[in-house]
Subunit: 149 residues, 2 copies
């Protein structure tokens, strides 16, 4: 009977904890931006449409079509692209504009909020470029010691 006592206790405390986590706006922000395709779509829409995500993320924001995004993000499945675009639209970070042309044309564009988020991610990039090398150095050193020492 009492085989899950410890588990249930943890479930209790976890439930409370999850509530707390859900309340934390920075946690929610992380949930949003920590998605692989979210960051890439933001980068794509935030920069011009050329496939230069890594370097500077510069260029002017430009609306992109679904098919353009699909080609730009290369490895993304249609499902994930659609799904991610929906969630970004839901959050008011991008707008979806469907024009009933020959075959229906849909374009996506960053909102002001989306641009704001994109700007912040460039800030993140700054920190990362400053310190992430150090982190990776530490990681390599740790691994070397673990296997050699």
């Amino acid at each position: 009977m009492a085989t899950t006592t410890a588990a249930q206790q943890r479930a209790q405390t976890r439930a409370q904890y999850d509530v707390f986590l859900a309340e934390c706006p920075s946690r929610k922000l992380l949930d949003r931006i920590s998605d692989k395709w979210v960051t890439l779509i933001l980068a794509a829409l935030g920069s011009d449409g050329s496939h230069r995500f890594g370097a500077d993320c510069a260029g002017e924001p430009r609306p992109l079509r679904y098919s353009e995004l699909s080609r730009l993000l290369a490895g993304v499945s249609q499902k994930m692209l659609t799904q991610t675009l929906r969630s970004l639209e839901r959050d008011g970070l991008i707008t979806r504009t469907a024009t009933p042309t020959v075959p229906v044309t849909v374009t996506y564009e960053l909102t002001d909020l989306g641009v704001s988020l994109h700007q912040m991610m460039r800030g993140l990039k700054g920190w990362a470029e400053t310190h992430m090398d150090e982190v990776l150095d530490n990681r390599a050193t740790y691994d070397t010691r673990a296997s050699a020492g």
Copy 2:
């Protein structure tokens, strides 16, 4: 035979894409901080040991014992706590100090790099508090329209 042609093409492009992603330091940073327990451990070690993560994350950084962290983070399983601490130690964000006392005592402490990361996450928090409400508003509006409209 050629049933996986499209899939394999995607696999190709995805492989290239993953390489690119792996090279991006901001992507790596996201991989690090977007972990639930990472952020909480950082918050715990970055603030004093009281259970006030949400409000201000203030207080002075203080080394904490494994058991203290375990109690503080409540819902965390021992496995995840150990695992997360290891990875943070590996990255040079925290230090692990074992003192061979009565039952062995282990304390964890933020390194300078860890403090730096903790500071940045407070910056994140700033953005989140400024804009995340807006995002959540949009989300709620979207959901309402979807179900009611």
